[in-house]
Amino acid sequence: MSVDTTHATMAPAKPESVTLTIDGRQVSVPKGTLIIRAAEQIGTAIPRFCDHPLLDPAGACRQCLVEIPDAGNGRGFPKPQPSCTMPVAEGMVVRTQVSSELARNAQEGILELLLINHPLDCPICDKGGECPLQNQAMAEGRGESRYLGVKRTFPKPISISAQILLDRERCVLCQRCTRFSDQISGDPFINLQERGAASQIGEYVKDGYDSYFSGNVIQICPVGALTSKDYRFHARPFDLVSTRTTCEHCAAGCELRTDHRQYRVERRLAGDLPEVNEEWNCDKGRFGFRYGHQDDRITRPLVRRDGVLQPASWADAIDTAVAGLKAAGRRVGVLTGGRLTVETNLAWSKFARMVLGTNNIDFRSRISSPEEATFLASQVAGRSQAESVSYRDLEDAGRVVLVDLEPEDESPIIFLRLRKAAMKKKLPVTVIGTHLTRGSVKMGAALEPCLPGDEDAALVRLVERNVIDERTIVLIGERAAASPGALTAAVDAVRVAGARLAWVPRRAGDVGAVEAGCLPGLLPGGRPVTDPVARVETGALWAARTLPAEVGLDAGQMLASVLGSPADDAEEPVEPAIDALMISGVQPRDFADPAATLAALEQVGFLVSLEQRTSQVTERADVVLPVALLEETSGTFLNWEHRPGRVRVVNTQPATPMNEIRVLAALADAMGSDLGMRTVVEAHAAWAEIEPWQGARPELADPEGGPGTGAADGSGQFPATVAGGAGSLRLDSWIQLLDSSAGLDGATDLQASARPAVVRVSPGTAQWLGVAEGQPVQVTGPAGSVELPARVDPTMIDGAVWMPLHGPDQAAGGGSRQAPPLRQRLGVLPGSPVHLAAVQANAGTDQANAGTDQANAGTDQANAGTDQGGAA
């Protein structure tokens, strides 16, 4: 080994740089950079249509042609070359339209050709005003067309999906949309059809364009060919006011560009945030913004008089609320949900401790467990963004293991990022689950087969097999709370293997709620309420002499306490009962037992609801205090990475109610306390003062029961008592991205694109049941049955069955919120045993045969199963 080599290897690794000359100016860029991007470095925008920095080069539109007199080897190209496909080379000489007549001539020629068949309908086109083709034509095009022929026309528009319309005559066939679908989302349901001048974008006849990310193709279309059904003909781009803000629909933390006009949000676009959503977002974030503008918006306080909610003045409503709360004393519980900003969460956290004097606060309006509370205190709360896993880390990981997390449904941007890493960097993804979903297949994921409830054992197996090693990142979803031991096993696994762990909740406000201390055992910054130092630190910030020292009741215990059933297995609660509840941003159907939750809301002595819209909570409340929509207020969301995302005021109507912090401050005043914050700015300043907790954190102990004991529900409402045996399978389930959730109200086109509810069974189960693909299956739980069409999934393990947690309910014809969620109708949770049976379609018409079949089934079940399988 020579000395030189040693030096070379010791030299710090930095990206190799290439120097070239563009229009007479020298520029150095990393090796592999495309000419079109190198030109951007010196401020030259080479016109383009098909080029997109996040898509593979295509070279289709030819608009970006440049002259290359020297390719770096002393020889030039005789013809103009596309700058969007050619990487730079050392010593290369490039002449763009700025300095080259050839390049200018080539670009003019392409533009003229693009326009000969393009309709002159800019005045009525949605894209007019923000259209690259229009801009380019105005800047560089001919004043008068030389084309005397007939323009190509198509019947217009055609529907590509429930949300997207295509005007084919406007299309310049840049293939950005098809490349996005193929390369980014992995849903290649649209493609080029026909040939030559008849080329057009089309969808497969059998399967329409079915993608959670379809709206992105509207945004990246460089002309007005792909338009949003929801936005079409609603506004001109130059009349819209744009606001950069953060999406409220999940914990991914996408930046949005929200466009509004005259107090009305007209559309939302994906913002440009390379570290998070790059330039993409999901359809839920893009189209789900009409919910606040329905008939059910509440703008005036309501007070229940003589059993009826009636409009009241603010003073009256506040006085009534304060009277009720004072009567309850410390026997008040606070449920804050997962949709609030950090600032609002902090106001609630402080309100509960300082004004109400209780630790009875919980944001988890969903399936949760005491194990999860400990996990959050020990692993999530009080962590900075710097020490948390990031999107970038996912791309650079050696492997990503998904536990109780289906990213495409539960955190779509994580899905996009994992798929990108899988495609570009061959990132191996391992899914602990019952089957490989469409999303898993698109990521090329491997399945670690595991029945719901046995995730802890699966994690142990992965560590033993060295699948989880020091370069692995484990992502665990909030559903893990339904699987006892899973969270503890995940912590153990990453500790043993030296891997990293991140918790991925579903809602935008979840991480912020943890950090703000909207948990019965945590103060802001991850401070345990039981730790005197933690209380002193928090008290100092809040100018409070004392803070309640006992761990409060969690959501399930509060509701159980209202219903009078003692919280099982826990120590005798300090507060004997809950006499009043304060609830904000919570849907009862999200709780483990929706029916019991509703009953508790009926029975509780006093109920104060802070809400934007009429809900099952406001309907049962004694006082309803209206609060501002997210688009009318500002704040911060912390995404799953702990990354702050600014929420900005999009638009305020004259009748906008106060925001939640202001309402809480008013309540505090009337209670004789001072919340210390009246505005988002003040709350944010208070938030900024909080340092992460440096003291001891709770340890996760092995929960009772040990690994693989099956499902249990933290709130303990549902005894999982379906009799085992024939037809009994364990339920795997999660909430799909698009369902009947309230956040999608008003977005009818979006709701129409929701995936239909199905029941996924293994081939073995299908054979046993005697059902084929698409045939109805009856799923039965303790509370009832639903019928769903069967999907026979070859990757599904025997012993498990999958269905969506909520629906949409296909039988009811789409996502109507009137119908209770699927799991509520069955009375089940993920991990519960359910009973499956084939639906006898023709029982009525052919009784004799049906009778015979049943008789056979009775005498010999195994044979009958085989027979039925054969017949199917």
Binding site: G59, C61, R62, K79, P80, I110, L113, Q175, E194
Partner: protein, 456 residues
């Protein structure tokens, strides 16, 4: 017919023709293995299997065999580009998707002697270490597909294909694949996409097929005639091959005479022969007519006027005269022919066959057809010829692949040589008045009269 003429000339011993590929075409049932073997068939393969694969490449390289599909890239050099350290398998793909207007050399070759191609494919595959070779044939020529399939079947039975070929330890499978009738699939990367089951559109290069071709693996793509020329080189050696043709364009090749010639057909001759010589051999233009213009290598190659009849038909000379040797499809047109009409028909072909991927080709051919139709009908406006040329030049050299270059090439050559015919169309004279179309049918006036009478 034409073969009769060739045979006749050969018998006279004075012909410059060199039938190698076509030598056995007149044999009875030449396409059967037994008859091919009787003519020393598969001798070249036996020679090749006795050599190291790299020596086969060297031999073909030194012989100077250049691609017969149009571009004229040295075949041996192309084979030597296949990386040795790529873990993926290597493939040979033979382009039998002949579909250019005027080009008609591969189809007769595969029809008459499919084993020539099969043998060549085995030798080429051996040289580049391919275990699988694909013969991509245009879908319309069903009869030829069957002949090829039959030949491959026969080769398997005789032990020329399959495992341990002729005891050499070398294994090869050949798959005959029928295209779906798209001109663009003759472009090598579009062909690969089509072979993979995708929409046939040209791919971005680099990576070149030699590095990442079929299924992202190293791939050699050669024309059918190129591969078919390989066995003879193995049998007779490189010196024999170089004894024919010119220094840089060695060897024999098929020249396809068509159009207003007395005896259309395939004429196999050394590169560097002139059209004048070929016309002399073949019997000249149809009786009573003179050559007006011709294409040296199919419609994509800018046309030559009668003045260029003595240009040697080799790669360098044709390029030096401003065109491309292309596929050596010599379409000859006599003085009755309307150049406007001819170019319009060709442009309609390119418009129909444009794949639609890139703007200049998709939109340009659409526009050019409309302009040419107006000029043909005498409805052009003054200045339209310049506009035609300007648009033409804004298409040429700016498209994704060379399909559009072919389209603009024919317009460029036509206007350069026969501008007055286009100007006439811009001055109210329809092409069919200037040069009545019925006069340019391939039949003599007497024939035409008698045929019209017969069908009337």
């Amino acid at each position: 017919m034409s073969e009769d003429a060739v045979t006749l000339e050969m018998a006279q011993g004075s012909s410059p023709l060199t039938p190698v590929l076509s030598a056995n075409w007149d044999d009875p049932r030449a396409w059967k293995l037994v008859n091919y073997e009787r003519r020393d068939g598969y001798r070249g393969l036996r020679t090749a299997l006795g050599m190291a694969p790299d020596d086969v490449i060297s031999l073909v390289k030194e012989a100077g065999l250049r691609g017969r599909g149009g571009a004229g890239f040295p075949a041996g050099l192309k084979w030597s580009f296949i990386p040795k350290d790529n873990p993926n398998p290597t493939y040979l793909v033979v382009n039998c998707d002949e579909s250019e207007p005027g080009t008609c050399k591969d189809m007769p070759l595969l029809m008459a002697s499919p084993h020539t191609l099969v043998e060549g494919a085995i030798i080429a595959s051996y040289a580049v270490h391919a275990k699988v070779a694909f013969l991509y044939v245009r879908g319309e020529v069903l009869h030829i597909i069957r002949r090829l399939q039959q030949a491959v079947r026969e080769a398997y039975s005789a032990g020329y294909l399959g495992s341990d070929i002729l005891g050499s330890g070398y294994d090869l499978d050949i798959i005959v694949h029928a295209g779906a009738g798209a001109y663009i699939c003759g472009e090598e990367t579009a062909l690969l996409d089509s072979l993979e089951g995708r929409r046939g559109q040209p791919r971005l290069r680099p990576p070149f097929p030699a590095v990442a071709g079929l299924y992202a693996s190293p791939t050699v793509v050669n024309n059918a005639e190129t591969i078919s020329s390989v066995p003879a080189i193995l049998t007779h050696g490189k010196d024999w091959f170089q004894s024919m043709g010119t220094e840089k364009s060695a060897g024999f090749t098929l020249f396809s005479l068509s159009g207003h010639v007395a005896n259309p057909g395939q004429y196999e001759a050394p590169l560097g022969i002139t059209l004048a010589q070929l016309l002399q051999i073949s019997g000249g233009m149809r009786a009573g007519h003179q050559l007006k213009f011709f294409t040296p290598g199919g419609s994509s190659t800018p046309m030559f006027s009668a003045a260029e009849v003595n240009v040697p038909l080799d790669y360098e000379s044709v390029a030096g005269a401003g065109s491309i040797l292309g596929t050596k499809a010599l379409q000859c047109f006599d003085e009755t022919t309307s150049v406007v009409r001819t170019v319009l028909r060709w442009m309609e072909f390119y418009k129909h066959e444009s794949c639609g991927k890139c703007t200049p080709c998709r939109e340009g051919t659409w526009w050019m057809v409309q302009m040419l139709r107006r000029i043909e009908a005498g409805e052009g406006r003054p200045g339209d010829v310049d506009k035609l040329l300007d648009v033409n030049e804004r298409i040429g050299g700016r498209s994704f692949c060379t399909l559009a270059d072919g389209a603009v090439g024919c317009v460029r050559g036509a206007v350069k040589n026969f501008r007055d015919e286009f100007e006439a169309g811009c001055n109210g004279v329809p092409a069919w008045q200037l040069l009545p179309y019925e006069r340019s049918t391939v039949f003599s006036d007497e024939d035409l009269d008698s045929r019209v009478g017969a069908t009337a």
